[in-house]
């Protein structure tokens, strides 16, 4: 009996079929916004730099930075939906990588007002660029806005939860190492983008 029970899960491995779990609930734009950074490394790394930097701050600054970034994403996206989408906004994620990556790598703390202002500015640029790039694909703008800003907030929340759950020396080192990777990628991507113009 036990042996049969062990064989069944193995047998199921060979019967994989396409995922059936997601019916069409007309929430496509919510998920498109939520997962937008996962399919665009620039956006993911820009948001990750902000999220990781927030984990290195003390007191209420992590919350203020994450909320500021999510709010900035929301505001930037609304601006893009209203037609305010300058081409220079595409540099938002790269600038976020180039500014916040070194801050993470060097573990720099800023006053809470300055940190929040930086996060809001990065969010504005990132939200505006992301929405501007996908404008023709967005059928339900409200769902898109909810998804995109939720994704930004969730990334910050998860980053803070992970670093507080494992407040070890090596976690702090790992965050700084990732900051140096983000800086390196940001520098390279910026040069490639500048050459392509």
């Amino acid at each position: 009996m036990m042996r049969a029970a062990g064989v069944v899960p193995f047998a199921l491995l060979f019967a994989a079929t396409p995922a059936q779990a997601h019916g069409n609930a007309n929430l496509g734009d919510f998920y498109a916004g939520l997962f937008q950074p996962l399919f665009h490394f620039e956006y993911l790394l820009g948001a990750l730099a902000i999220a990781l930097w927030s984990t290195q701050q003390a007191g209420r600054a992590p919350f203020a930075i994450c909320a500021g970034f999510a709010g900035g994403v929301l505001a930037g996206s609304i601006a893009a939906l209203l037609g305010q989408n300058p081409a220079s906004a595409a540099w938002g994620p790269r600038i976020a990588m180039l500014i916040c990556g070194p801050l993470v790598a060097a573990r720099v703390s800023l006053p809470i007002a300055a940190g929040t202002a930086l996060a809001v500015a990065a969010g504005l640029a990132q939200g505006n660029a992301a929405t501007g790039a996908e404008l023709s694909q967005i059928a339900r703008p409200v769902l898109w806005l909810l998804g995109l800003s939720s994704g930004a907030a969730l990334l910050g929340a998860y980053a803070n939860a992970a670093t507080q759950r494992f407040p070890t020396f090596w976690m702090q080192v790992g965050v700084r190492v990732v900051g140096s990777w983000i800086t390196a990628i940001g520098l390279l991507v910026s040069v490639v983008a500048a050459r392509a113009r």
Binding site: G6, F10, L13, F14, A16, T17, P18, A19, F39, H40, F41, E42, L45, A105, V173, R176, V177, G179, S180, W181, T183, A184, I185, L187, L188, V189, V191, V192, R195
Partner: protein
Amino acid sequence: MRRGAHFVALALFFFAFAAQAHTEQSTGGGFLTGFLHPVTGVDHLLAMLAVGMWGAQLGMPAIWVLPVAFPLVMAIGGVLGIAGVPLPGAEPAIVLSVILLGAMIAFGRRPPLVLAAALVAFFAIFHGYAHGRELPNQANAVDFCAGFVLATGCIHLTGIGIGTVTKLPRGAQMLRAGGTAIALTGCLLAWRLAAG
């Protein structure tokens, strides 16, 4: 019974099917190409491993300063490569990095942190330059950059992991033997480079 279960589990690795759940929408061959660039080049791979191993051998704070410094300086080399700035002797310098970093581990050299970081940073420029020269031809530059930087970091972490053998009995000797193997492989690469 336990041995049988292990055998079945191992055997299953050889019967992997294509994943069915994910439709094909790529973040790119660019990422994979970039990720594989340092991994499949033996000179890059050994030098990156050596950076991690040497950091572990030097201990705190070099164990994390070197892997943080390397990608930053490597990116500067990458920028030179992308911009097409001529950097003579890049290939020999990369091979030299394998020999020198391997030798540092083999001989257990412990220079001051600034000197160790400067040495690693110097070679990082040439490694980054080689990656950068490959980049303009790639379909997706962002993914390619992310791929090779992440791969470089992962190899560093692997090197640090290998370096933790120093905690085992005779681990320091094992690590130095690893450094010797890297340096000798570097000599072989230099010989092949010289032979054309």
